[in-house]
């Protein structure tokens, strides 16, 4: 899965994206292994990444780069809903493939949720929708403390097929940072 390397998880930080992250973003956003289960179409150019960072990541209520030594190695997002749905927020994430298997995503998602609880006081439910085949991502949510609620059959369309998605949730009252 990944090369032998020591990762000190206390070196993982979250920060807003900058245009200067474009090359690092393209390393993971342009990798089909990484984008396979995400909603992204694999990024194919710097220009595409610059537009995405400018038009989506930077203005977003909570979109953060997962960093090691301030270098972007991944992406985490919290999207609160509005109106009668404002008690819940969706969580999404992606990590450069060479950093898989060290607990980095788990750490980053925990950090994001801690921040999300402060940024979005109306949110009492964080939820993650993971494709049925994406076992690694399900393990991330389980390690963060999410509960598997159910399988939603043919819930959404991604990369040419309708997908069964597993619904996970974490209540603010259950969260242990």
């Amino acid at each position: 899965m990944s090369k032998e390397m020591e990762i000190n998880l206390s070196k993982i930080t979250l920060r807003p994206y900058k245009i200067s992250d474009v090359d690092d973003f393209l390393m993971y956003g342009g990798n089909e292994k990484v984008t396979r289960f995400t909603r992204w179409n694999t990024f194919t150019s710097k220009q595409e990444v610059v537009s995405y960072i400018n038009d989506y990541c930077i203005p977003h209520p909570y979109c953060r780069s997962i960093c090691i030594d301030n270098r972007s190695i991944g992406f985490v997002i919290i999207m609160p809903r509005s109106g009668d749905d404002r008690c819940r927020a969706d969580v999404g994430y992606a990590l450069a493939a060479e950093y898989w298997g060290h607990g980095i995503t788990t750490r980053a998602v925990k950090m994001a949720i801690s921040e999300g609880l402060k940024e979005f006081p109306d949110v009492v439910r964080f939820q993650g929708l993971v494709e049925l085949e994406n076992k690694a991502s399900q393990r991330v949510l389980e390690k963060v403390g999410f509960l598997k609620e159910c399988v939603l059959r043919k819930y959404s369309f991604n990369k040419g097929e309708t997908r069964d998605m597993v619904m996970y949730s974490l209540l603010s009252t259950d969260f242990m940072p």
């Binding site: 008690c87 439910r125 939603l152 959404s156 949730s169």
Partner: protein, 177 residues
């Protein structure tokens, strides 16, 4: 809520709701038993109801009056999604409380299930979310052949309070009931 039997004395049909149905609409729309698990409060005047029909019903992707012998006694609707979510639509329904317990809502739901997949070729999943404290509505979906997928905790706000909701789905590929 459940009556002694499942017979209804007449024919159940679905048709568009019109302004001329306003008096029949007011019968169920002003009833707080009916609106208990709806996101909206009972209507208190005809002007608001007329406004609802003119602005929300006429432009709705799929909205029908549930009629008993041609007279509207409730309503049923399916929302449409776009992009990667167009494979699913959400079902909702209300029925005048004096008609509860006779299998009428079940019949209306079955009629929708039998036509909507043909009308919307992109649709593969018809879903409905029901309050955990609304067993009558859960039974409607079970009798109509929907599969109960699981409970979504604190999923949304109902009149200001977070609610646990049960997710049901019917796929275009599920056996007809």
């Amino acid at each position: 809520m459940e009556g002694g039997g499942n017979e209804f004395t007449g024919e159940i049909t679905l048709r568009p709701l019109e302004l001329s149905d306003i008096d029949d609409f007011m019968v169920w729309a002003t009833d707080e038993k009916v609106t208990r698990f709806c996101s909206w409060e009972p209507y208190t005047n005809k002007e608001d109801a007329i406004n609802f029909i003119n602005t929300k019903v006429i432009s709705h992707p799929w909205f029908r009056a549930i009629c008993l012998n041609g007279q509207p006694i409730g309503a049923i609707s399916v929302t449409k999604n776009s992009g990667n979510d167009r494979c699913r639509g959400e079902l909702g329904y209300v029925l005048g409380s004096k008609y509860w317990g006779r299998g009428i809502a079940t019949k209306a739901v079955k009629q929708v299930a039998n036509t909507i997949f043909a009308e919307w070729p992109h649709l593969e999943r018809l879903e409905a979310i029901v309050d955990v404290e609304n067993p009558g509505s859960q039974r409607v979906l079970e009798k109509a052949g929907f599969q109960r997928e699981g409970v979504l905790r604190k999923y949304m706000l109902l009149k200001g309070r977070t609610r646990d909701l049960v997710m049901f789905s019917l796929l275009s590929s599920d056996p007809k009931s």
